[in-house]
């Protein structure tokens, strides 16, 4: 099927490998990936920071860019959550009922990567190979906004060579929270310290998740400590093969 990739502004700019891996994975599974090049950002940072008026043009832009797409795949639980749970709200707040309706229709065709693989494609095994000890952090928005539940874990359990270790207190926030990490940097750091303690306790080489933002946070902390554990996006693991 034809799949439109919304790569997210963060992966586009700072983590292009996540986008490349998503393309590689979906094409390996036999699908045609398109990248609407006019795409920019879903506006989540503006919305969650209270700048709803500044989010509105981004919601409108997103809705126009992806209007003709039958299926939109996003390698981020957080940005999918923004499209699904915030776009119509932002439009409605400024009285644009037509935009809210279009945003609502688009939200129904937008999937986070693990949702798309398991629910739309019906796959738990994507034929990946990744010979590493890995622990999985369920990001807050994929867990509590999207309710992805065990979908990413089902996918990871079927990756050949992968040694999956359970993360203690997995469902506790890593402390990222967008501008929270800057505005409340001390609290955010305290939350990060506990998350890193849990990650390191697993003895994993790799901590994975479905959001580049949370991985940037956890990975930034681990890197500062020279902890020897790195962060890798779920898409990159699922895209890996033996060759």
């Amino acid at each position: 099927m034809r799949v439109a990739l919304f790569v997210t502004c963060l992966a586009d700019t700072l983590f292009p490998d996540v986008g490349k891996a998503t393309v590689r994975l979906l094409e390996r599974l036999g699908h045609q990936v398109e990248f609407p090049q006019a795409q920019t950002c879903c506006g989540q940072m503006h919305t969650n920071s209270g700048y709803l008026r500044d989010a509105l043009p981004l919601v409108r832009h997103f809705t126009e860019v992806f209007a003709g797409c039958a299926a939109i795949v996003v390698p981020s639980g957080s940005c999918t959550g923004s499209v699904r749970h915030q776009h119509a709200m932002v439009a409605r707040r400024f009285g644009d009922e037509a935009l809210a309706r279009r945003a609502g229709q688009l939200a129904a065709r937008t999937w986070e990567l693990s949702e798309f693989l398991t629910d739309v494609l019906g796959l738990d095994d994507v034929g990946a190979y990744y010979p590493h000890r890995v622990t999985y952090h369920p990001t807050c928005h994929s867990l509590r906004l999207l309710r992805v539940a065990d979908r990413p874990l089902r996918l990871l359990r079927n990756v050949a060579g992968l040694d999956l270790v359970e993360l203690p207190d997995a469902e506790v926030c890593c402390g990222f929270g967008g501008t929270f990490a800057v505005k409340n940097a001390d609290v955010s750091t305290a939350m990060l310290a506990d998350k890193m303690r849990s990650v390191l306790a697993t003895g994993a080489e790799v901590c994975t998740a479905g959001d580049s933002s949370c991985l940037m946070h956890i990975g930034g902390g681990l890197s500062r400590l020279r902890a020897g554990t790195r962060t890798v996006h779920l898409a990159e693991i699922l895209a890996s093969t033996r060759d």
Binding site: C9, V18, K20, L143, A181, N184, A185, M191
Partner: protein, 504 residues
């Protein structure tokens, strides 16, 4: 235009902190004893709550029912409040209306001094703490004795409550023993820190107060409009003493605490104990209706408090904060609260519910940092027994604060600029290109120090250096977009073509 609905006044009560949340939080985070006490206590309550909630197959339906009853009550609040007044009055009680904290303090102080009592016993009540009633009574020469064990610890320690349900959650046993030894009249100097010994010391101290008190003061968990019945749930029995022994009982209650009828109580008496203490049912549920001759208090006064609640009710997106039944489940699951404790919030309502309630009661500008004291992780919404969508209200209040702050400060300018850039693909691509200048800051793909405001990030975390090529540039190069990466793209395209052939 009508004048704005008044919010809780300044200078009275405890709804505002002296410092913004991040500043107060920094101090709390540096206290290892506090961190340890909070982590232990919240994880214990979390575990108990999860176990008893899992027992009920209809928990989600109960939550939905609780939400629906509260929404219905607030929609018809005017009618139910006057019904409550009629019923309480018909059964021998007296109803007083207090527009704000000062009015409520004046009413209660007047009622107490009229009895000639120099001492009152108090049931644990957050609303009386909200209005600063103990201070107001003290100014009138009346000593208020907190009879809930944790409230007593806080009072003797000249401290502030830090949790809705467990006000002394920030104290451990050893600290409590020290407070008792220092402050409790007549305490056994050999007191140990065993829970039984501490409880026995409090029991002896309080018994005298219960038996001599002429006036009891309480809050209310619920008021039932159809009969004028008040309800207090508690664990220690001190509440039952205060509600039955004194001749005069004064109850202070926020106007949002009432429910239409007895049947509704069935829902909340299941939701509240399981969510708050993690018990199937709390040990003491006291209910009283007006005055019963010869049994219990012979004078009953009900003070109905607004103090910013009508202003909260006027905001369609924010009013659900008034659904709160003060169970504190959201505090116990909040990763921010667990690390900072309640004092950092500066209000008697801490944690996630406090971050949405306090700014609405006071007006957002008086608690401007609280809506931002959350990572929006959503754990509070999942735990809330009446389904208050706290993350959405937080975002809504952030928007109110941003709108009030205007367009001229640096963050607003940055946000507007980012929106302008991101609304256009050409401007966005140009900005991405410019951001690659950041590569000079990086070493081995990592940036160790950034200027303010991003210095908060790099104080404890590395930041990724921008890569040599954005995804968009890669796509253009690989998939025949614009010129620039063509030469490199050809070989990649060949690779893709080969891979596709290989699959067929």
């Amino acid at each position: 235009m009508a004048s704005p609905i008044p919010t809780a006044p300044r200078g009275v009560g405890h709804l505002r902190g002296e410092e913004p949340f991040p500043v107060a939080a920094r101090r709390a985070l540096a206290d290892p004893q506090l961190r340890r006490n909070l982590a232990r206590a919240t994880s214990t309550i979390r575990g108990k709550r999860a176990a008893v909630v899992a027992e009920l197959p209809d928990w989600e339906q109960l939550r939905t029912a609780g939400q629906a009853i509260k929404a219905h009550t607030l929609r018809h609040l005017d009618g139910y409040l006057t019904e409550l007044e009629r019923q309480v009055t018909a059964r021998g009680g007296t109803v007083h209306w207090a527009a704000d904290a000062s009015a409520a303090n004046q009413i209660v102080t007047g009622l107490v001094t009229a009895t000639g009592a120099g001492e009152v016993v108090k049931v644990k009540s957050i609303v009386t703490d909200e209005i600063g009633l103990n201070e107001a009574l003290a100014q009138a020469g009346v000593h208020a004795i907190e009879t809930d064990l944790a409230e007593l610890i806080v009072q003797l320690g000249r401290d502030r409550p830090s949790h809705i349900l467990v006000p002394a959650i920030h104290r451990n046993r050893a600290e409590i023993r020290d407070i008792f030894l220092r402050e409790m009249p007549g305490v056994d100097p050999g007191l140990t820190d065993s829970p039984a010994a501490l409880a026995e010391a409090a029991r002896r101290y309080l018994r005298r107060a219960f038996l001599s008190a002429q006036v009891g003061i309480s809050g209310a968990n619920f008021a039932i409009a159809e009969t004028g019945t008040l309800c207090v749930v508690e664990s220690e029995g001190n509440g039952r003493m205060c509600l039955t022994l004194p001749e005069t009982l004064i109850t202070v209650m926020g106007i949002e605490k009432l429910i239409p009828c007895w049947r509704d109580l069935e829902v909340f008496l299941q939701l509240l104990p399981r969510s708050s203490t993690g018990e199937r049912m709390n040990p003491y549920t006291s209910m009283w209706t007006g005055v019963t001759p010869g049994d219990g208090p012979q004078a009953f006064h009900l003070v109905l408090l607004d103090n910013g609640r009508t202003a909260t009710l006027a905001d369609p997106a924010g009013r659900q904060a008034l659904h709160c039944i003060r169970c504190s489940a959201c505090l116990n699951v909040c990763p921010v609260y667990e690390r900072t404790g309640g004092h950092a919030y500066g209000s008697v309502y801490p944690g996630p519910i406090g971050a949405v309630l306090s700014p609405q009661l006071t007006g957002v500008s008086d608690n401007a940092s609280l809506p931002f004291a959350s990572s929006l992780c959503g754990a509070c919404y999942d735990a809330c027994p009446v389904k208050i969508d706290i993350p959405s209200v937080l975002v809504h209040l952030r928007a109110r604060e941003v709108a009030a702050a205007g367009h001229a400060h640096p963050e607003a300018i940055t946000m507007a600029a980012a929106s302008w850039v991101m609304a256009s693909p050409a401007r966005w691509a140009a900005a991405q290109h410019a951001s690659r200048l950041g590569r000079v800051l990086g070493r081995a793909g990592r940036i160790r120090r950034l200027p303010p405001p991003l210095s908060g990030w790099t104080a404890a975390r590395d930041a990724p250096a921008p890569p040599a090529q954005t995804f968009r540039q890669w796509w253009q190069a690989e998939r025949g977009g614009a010129a620039g990466g063509r030469r490199a793209g050809r070989t990649r395209r060949q690779w893709w073509r080969a891979e596709r052939r290989g699959r067929q």
